[in-house]
């Protein structure tokens, strides 16, 4: 267990897709050998590169335990959070490939432009809309609260949206994360504007672009059943909301 007992370190090769917008016309791959422990995270590996070998390596990170959503990246071809991916869970007999998430404009190394992602989020009206003015709290049963629990877990890391083949080919598609945000309010018993969001998502670039490939569910670091949430929004668009 990491620093708790004595654990041997070993060398891991990271192959990182680099891009410096000020000097490079195209991204390129670069190798780094790093001494790691099995309980280290990929984020620790990136830090060791940045702190000991090449300070120009650029990536976002903050909380380092999977709650802030800063460090979604493609690790061995899968979208994951670098701070939630432990070395022991990777096959380190081979190099570990790390690159930026796909489908958003590449800014530098592992950093992409998140603005299109947040723009889609804002479009689904991700906030409670109600005419009720309770003196205290709105009442909500345990079951009503449970109905949308899964989609409240979203940390807006973009791992789902940027794992979606439809999003890669059609940047106009709202993408899974925005639909998750809509789901969270469509199925909240306190909200009165589910239909507005369903109309937005019933459009050309809405839920019907989803091809149910389940990449999004596999990518979600919070374990949200994203594809299921999208299906429920599709159902609601046809049959109306059942809370």
């Amino acid at each position: 267990m990491g620093e708790l007992g004595v654990v041997d370190s070993f060398t891991v090769t990271f192959i990182v897709r680099r891009f410096n917008p000020e000097t490079d016309s195209e991204p390129h791959w670069q190798d780094f050998d790093v001494e790691m422990y099995s309980t280290d995270r990929v984020l620790d590996g990136l830090h060791k590169i940045k702190w000991d070998q090449d300070g120009s390596l650029s990536f976002r990170r903050s909380c380092a335990h999977g709650i802030c959503g800063s460090d979604a990246m493609r690790i061995n071809g899968r979208n994951r959070l670098a701070c939630k991916t432990l070395i022991k869970d990777l096959d380190i007999s081979k190099p570990v490939y790390v690159e930026a998430i796909k489908g958003l404009p590449l800014e530098k190394d592992l950093i992409v432009d998140m603005e299109p992602f947040f723009a889609a989020y804002r479009e689904v009206q991700p906030f409670l809309q109600t005419s009720a003015k309770p003196k205290k709290e709105h009442l909500q049963s345990v079951e009503q609260r449970e109905r949308f629990d899964d989609t409240t877990k979203c940390i807006l890391c973009a791992a789902c949206t940027t794992s979606c083949p439809v999003f890669w080919t059609d940047g106009q598609y709202f993408g899974p994360a925005a639909i998750v945000a809509a789901h969270r309010f469509i199925f909240d018993s306190r909200d009165e504007e589910a239909q507005v969001r369903l109309d937005i998502l019933n459009s050309k670039e809405g839920v019907w672009r989803c091809r149910t490939t389940f990449n999004c569910s596999e990518a979600c670091p919070r374990g949200i059943e994203v594809t299921k949430a999208i299906s429920e929004v599709k159902q609601a668009a046809i049959r109306g909301v059942r809370r």
């Binding site: 267990m1 990491g2 620093e3 708790l4 004595v6 410096n20 917008p21 000020e22 309980t39 940045k50 702190w51 000991d52 300070g55 120009s56 650029s58 990536f59 976002r60 990170r61 903050s62 909380c63 380092a64 335990h65 999977g66 709650i67 802030c68 959503g69 800063s70 939630k84 432990l86 800014e107 530098k108 190394d109 950093i111 947040f118 989020y121 804002r122 009206q125 991700p126 906030f127 409670l128 309770p134 205290k136 709290e137 709105h138 009442l139 909500q140 049963s141 345990v142 609260r145 629990d149 409240t152 877990k153 979203c154 940390i155 807006l156 309010f185 909240d188 306190r190 909200d191 374990g223």
Partner: protein, 582 residues
């Protein structure tokens, strides 16, 4: 050549965590408001808070805000300003209802109200027994607060400047008074400089836990806002009081909520003994954090630690059952599984104290106005949240009082900043307003010395863990002060690799380290000066509380390269200091 942009706002809020966004929700609908953050708002560390937000709603059992006030005062070992604690506890009820009305999905009682659970130091009728006061959403209450506030900012169309790093506070002389005039920020994506001329400025920049190695804090919590205030001659209050949360994942520092003990989890030593029964017979594992952390360190020091190196204790949740863990504590259950490979459902989790929260910070009035000394307000300047010291936490904050603090005082800061901006004139900018930041960035970008930022930071963190953590002595603090001094000398000779303009996070880390070094020195110097033990500040060489000598707030002032220390009286209203027993 550096590109400089100019902006004008009524209110500029620095920091987009809970306090900053709560302030924005008050300010933005009324006056032209900007929120500036070095992160995207949803990355802020409010999102990592887990257990809950205290408010005497009395939804599940009898409670009163007066009991909450008392617990806050006693929890802070009587260094709390009691008028501020009263405001905190009284306004807590509306603060929780505000959030629910904004959409926050709290857990519910069987009759559909907001559910509440127990938390450390929160008691019924002045200490008689634990009370259910913490309003919660599983063990992701902070996440829900951050998301809900962000959602409401989206609803209101709040203007955000994301990934803009504020590096200077502009103060100007208006009628003989040092007055806020704006801030200067460095845009991470381009390297451009932005001057924000504003009538009101709110600092809501969070804490500085990254001066410690073992910490629950994010990499980005480097005390930038507090450090800027310090460099501008604003004093810092009670900096020696840093909270070490008892249950960090051993070796990693990742937070496991106190809510686990609120739900009934028990701390055990290597022999399986529930050691808190010995130290706090009435409320045991729900004693305040400072007490529990000390007891844990003591258990380990006396050879009763668990594990191959006997260097941690165990948090036993196994008797809670899988359902409670999966529904009320799902995130921490997953953290233990992911990062330690330990399943809390079937085995106890290795834990040790982790640097968690700064009780001290920028001194403010109860209206969130920043103080230049014990009484003088800086017109137009406000602070709220962890970066501020009101002081509602005194020498030790109670769990669930920080999510409360950001909401109550974030709201007050936003309201008051907007009201001030409506009546005051936009102050003229000082001459060459951007120059300090232009020079700071240029010298960092071109730094070509031999010293490494990462090495200096690591040595600082190791030293702070070793000599300025749960137990302190004159000797340990003296050592820390010397080490920090040497590190500062080396910091002047750093080199960085990245010479680029765009997303230069190498440069960013170098600048952040400067703030950490400044603040670590203030923490250690303030701690050396307080020769007593109180709340989160435990001196092995002065083990007792000394109300005659030290029943007052520390005020640290920057005097050139030196630190001058003064005192500020504690506001006492209803609760004369008593011995603190649980």
């Amino acid at each position: 050549m550096t590109t400089v942009h100019h902006h004008e706002y009524d209110v500029v809020i620095v920091g987009a965590g809970g306090a900053g966004m709560r302030a924005a929700i008050e300010s933005a609908p009324n006056v032209k408001t900007a929120v500036i953050s070095k992160l995207y708002p949803t990355r802020s560390h409010t999102g990592a808070a887990q257990g809950g937000m205290a408010a005497a709603l009395a939804n599940v059992e009898e409670d009163s805000w007066e009991w909450h006030t008392f617990d806050t005062v006693k929890g802070g070992d009587y260094l709390v300003d009691q008028d501020a604690a009263e405001i905190l506890a009284r306004e807590a009820i509306d603060a929780v209802l505000d959030l629910e009305n904004m959409g926050l999905p709290f857990n519910r009682t069987p009759d559909g109200k907001i559910d509440q659970r127990r938390f450390g130091g929160h008691t019924r009728d002045h200490g008689k027994a634990p009370v259910r006061r913490s309003c919660y959403a599983a063990d992701r209450t902070g996440h829900m607060i951050l998301q809900t506030l962000f959602q409401n900012c989206v609803k209101l169309g709040v203007e955000f400047y994301n990934e803009f790093y504020v590096l200077d506070l502009l103060l100007t002389d208006v009628k003989g008074k040092s007055t806020a005039a704006g801030v200067v920020a460095y845009e991470l994506s381009t390297g451009d400089i932005h001057v924000f001329n504003a009538t009101s400025v709110i600092f809501a920049t969070g804490g500085f836990g990254k001066m410690y190695k073992t910490t629950s804090n994010a990499h980005t919590l480097t005390g930038d806002g507090v450090g800027i205030a310090w460099r501008k001659g604003i004093p810092l209050e009670d900096m020696e009081f840093f909270q070490f949360h008892p249950t960090g994942l051993a070796g990693l520092g990742i937070l496991l909520t106190e809510g686990a003990r609120g739900e009934g989890a028990i701390l055990r030593n290597a022999s399986g003994v529930r050691f808190m029964e010995r130290y706090a017979p009435t409320i045991k594992d729900l004693a305040p954090r400072d007490i529990i952390s000390r007891c844990m360190v003591q258990e380990v020091a006396e050879g009763r630690g668990a594990g191959p190196n006997k260097d941690y204790v165990l948090l036993d949740c196994t008797h809670l059952g899988a359902e409670v863990l999966e529904t009320k504590l799902p995130d921490i259950t997953e953290f233990a599984r992911t990062y330690l490979g330990v399943d809390p459902v079937v085995e106890p989790v290795p834990v040790m104290p982790t640097a968690h929260y700064a009780m001290g910070g920028i001194p403010t009035t109860v209206n969130a106005e920043v103080l230049l000394d014990n009484t003088t307000v800086i017109p137009g300047l406000y602070a709220a949240g962890e970066c501020a010291c009101v002081s509602v936490h005194g020498s030790n904050r109670l769990g669930t009082n920080s999510l409360l603090d950001i909401n109550v005082f974030g709201k007050r800061a936003g309201k008051n900043a907007a009201a001030y901006a409506k009546k005051a004139k936009l102050p003229a900018l000082p001459k060459a307003a951007e120059q300090f930041v232009v020079d700071l960035i240029d010298s960092a970008r071109t730094a070509n010395g031999k010293e490494s930022v990462a090495s200096i930071r690591k040595e600082l963190q190791v030293e702070m863990d070793r000599n300025a953590q749960v137990f302190r002595t004159e000797k340990s603090l003296g050592h820390a002060q010397k080490v920090i001094h040497d590190l500062r000398v080396r910091y002047a000779k750093i080199g960085i690799h990245d010479r680029g303009q765009r997303f230069n996070t190498d440069l960013l880390e170098a600048v952040e380290l400067g703030f950490l070094l400044d603040l670590a020195e203030v923490v250690v110097v303030s701690a050396r000066n307080r020769k007593e033990s109180r709340g989160g500040h435990m001196r092995d060489d002065f083990p007792d509380r000394d109300d005659k000598g030290y029943m007052q707030h520390t005020m640290a002032y920057k005097k050139g390269d030196d630190i001058a220390l003064g005192w500020k009286p504690v506001v006492i209203t209803n609760y004369p200091p008593m011995e603190r027993k649980y």
